[in-house]
Amino acid sequence: MVQMTMAKALGAGLRAALRDDPRVLLLGEDIGTLGGVFRITDGLLSEFGAARVIDTPLAESGIVGVAIGLAFRGYRPVIEIQFDGFIYPAFDQIVSQVAKLHYRTRGAVRMPLTIRVPWGGGIGAAEHHSESPEAYFVHTAGLRVVAVSNPEDAFVMLRQAIASDDPVVFFEPKRLYQVKGDVELDRPLADARPMGLARVVRPGTDVTVASYGAMVRTALDAATAAEDEGVSLEVLDLRSLSPLDDAALDASVRRTGRLVVVHEAPREAGLAAEVITGVVERSFDALRAAPVRITGHDLPYPPAKTEQHFLPDLDRILDGVDRALGRPNSLTGLQP
């Protein structure tokens, strides 16, 4: 067990994958000499060479498209999209090709791509550098989508994603890159928690707070604060956004009867709607109150000086908890 930042854990995950499987290779902008703008791939070029750590021309559709061709040839490409907001030029190749080729060819062609996306806000960045596009990919059948919230998961789930024979869109919360945590570097991958399962990161009894990525920490902070008020929150880290771990969600909501879902992405047709609708479909009888969404607003990401008004924080989560508990809250007295 060692302490390391998420950035280092991701680098360690890539190194392990490159070492363990000669078919793994990395593609991206500035991932070579520079080691990536976040230095996740630092040192990998000199360790594994330019044939496996590939600085690409500046063209995201091209990156994903050639990765598809490499997968056709038996490789397992791991792509770094430089920032969340730069994945959209590759959308067609991801949605029409990566997600569909295995289905199209009835299994003849596998697409074991991993698309790493430095992700989300809270870092004071310029426009297009704080996006949370995960719902687009969750809505796209044929992809798996995961999000990590701590260095251990980053290290393990990245290797699981690379080992997966299905394409995985892998979301890395930028604002946690420099946060440290314990990482077990030597545990065999086979012994690790499967990528598709959620995790109860704090057990509780009154309200389930389901979240993922950077918001898990905020939810944990909210749970600590709530405890002071005598409210016990169960915090669930979804980890896998597609497929969702329905069993874990249902089990928690059946215990608490109340649900708050938290994410940075805008609300409309966002992931919280899927989580809530799924719980409603399966566990309507167990719900003691309407589930609550605490999310980004339905705006383009605002200028970073105002991003604290966009991003869910501890107080907004607690307000949502109040709603879920039927206690006075910000919406009390408002028209619905």
């Binding site: 000669p22 290779l25 044939a51 496996r52 690409t56 021309p57 063209a59 559709s61 091209g62 994903v64 498209g65 050639v66 990765a67 598809i68 061709g69 490499l70 997968a71 056709f72 040839r73 038996g74 490789y75 490409p77 067609d92 190749q93 029409s96 090709q97 569909k100 080729l101 295995h102 289905y103 199209r104 060819t105 009835r106 299994g107 003849a108 062609v109 596998r110 074991p112 059948a141 044929g142 798996r144 997966s164 024979d165 299905d166 598709g196 597609s242 497929p243 969702l244 771990d245 329905d246």
Partner: protein, 359 residues
């Protein structure tokens, strides 16, 4: 290389690439072109008879498809569009393979690895990037090739004149040039993208794009199968020997409609089509072979008979196709077990069972 009337003209640039080609090889090309056209006609007929939802005819483009395909080695890999069934046929696709997609039974038919041809691509231009990536894979495999094994495969991407406008095709050329990838881009410039003339896509020959990437290129008569073979051999050799990517612009013509749903009388004249009919690639190769005394009537009949056989098999395969079972739509969404799809399949199974019970 071959004039429209089939006379052999010297082509100093490319002659050496076909100096070793035997009459037998040309007869095989001729045979495959005949079969390709026969497949096409059967496809159109089947569509008219309501057996296929759609057909995208390649009539007139057999020269570039068969000429270039015959330059390929077994272990090369071609990334094709929806109109390149000639390439697939020449590489070993079976008659039934051409109908399952257009009958909407499957999204693709043959195993790409079995014949070294990708499933036909519908998203315009997308396959060019896949070819480049595949070629980059070839480069990487070569680094670790066991001594004595061949590591000099090439990838090919076919695409249309309309496709040349897509950003993906540009990015494919950028990547190919940047990495010196062993790939050949074959642009079948058939003058039209549905109703849009090539002049709308480019005011200048598409071949000129290549120089902008520092890529070798040739503009050839796509209705001359011989020159297609030669230019493709040249480009493939370049790819195999570390010379990087090439672009071939094959000037040809789509004699038929864009697809069976299209009505080309709305946008082009019969006179234009007629002029191109007189440049028919099959007649051209046939005239050449005949003038050399290398195609007997019996041989020509054999080729026609083979075409008939292919067409008959294609029709039989079409008519005997059985739509897959409902629950099969849930297969192959993922390569590995997936809780979401498993549950949906179960739910739909239960739903369908309700109808059985009702009966």
């Amino acid at each position: 290389m071959l004039a429209p009337d089939g006379t052999r003209r010297p082509c100093p640039d490319l002659d050496r690439w076909v100096a070793d080609v035997t009459p037998e090889q040309l007869r095989l090309m001729h045979r495959d072109m005949i079969a390709t056209r026969r497949i096409d006609r059967e496809g159109v007929a089947l569509q008219r008879q309501g057996e296929l939802g759609l057909w995208a005819p390649a009539e007139g483009q057999e020269g570039v498809q068969i000429g270039t395909a015959h330059a390929l080695r077994r272990d090369d890999f071609a990334f094709i569009s929806y109109r390149e069934h000639g390439v697939a046929y020449a590489r070993g696709a079976q008659p039934g393979d051409f109908v399952s997609i257009w009958r909407a039974e499957e999204h693709s038919s043959y195993d790409p690895y079995a014949i070294g041809v990708s499933n036909p691509q519908i998203i315009i231009g997308a396959q060019t990037l896949h070819a480049v990536g595949y070629a980059m894979g070839i480069q990487r495999d070569a680094l670790h090739a066991a001594p004595g094994t061949r590591a000099d495969q090439a990838a090919v991407s076919y695409f249309g004149d309309g496709a040349s406008s897509q950003g993906d095709v540009h990015e494919a050329m950028v990547f190919a040039a940047s990495f010196g990838a062993p790939v050949v881009f074959v642009c079948s410039n058939n003058q039209w993208a549905i109703s849009e003339p090539v002049a709308l896509q480019s005011r200048t020959p598409i071949v000129r794009r290549a120089a902008g990437y520092g890529m070798a290129a040739r503009r050839i008569d796509g209705n001359d199968p011989f020159v297609c073979l030669a230019a493709m051999r040249e480009a493939l050799q370049r790819a195999r020997t570390g010379g990087g990517p090439s672009l071939i612009e094959a000037v040809t013509y789509r004699i038929g409609p864009h697809t069976t749903s299209d009505d080309p009388t709305r946008y082009r004249s019969e006179a234009e089509v007629d002029a191109w009919r007189r440049r028919d690639p099959i007649a051209r190769l046939e005239a050449y072979l005949r003038s050399m005394g290398e195609l007997s009537d019996a041989q020509a009949q054999d080729a026609a008979a083979l075409g008939e056989r292919v067409a008959t098999e294609m029709r039989a395969a079409c008519l005997s196709m059985v739509t897959k079972a409902p629950l099969a739509i849930f297969d192959h969404v993922y390569a590995q077990p997936h809780s979401g799809i498993a549950r949906e399949r179960e739910q739909y199974r239960a739903y369908l069972r309700g109808f059985d019970d009702a009966e």
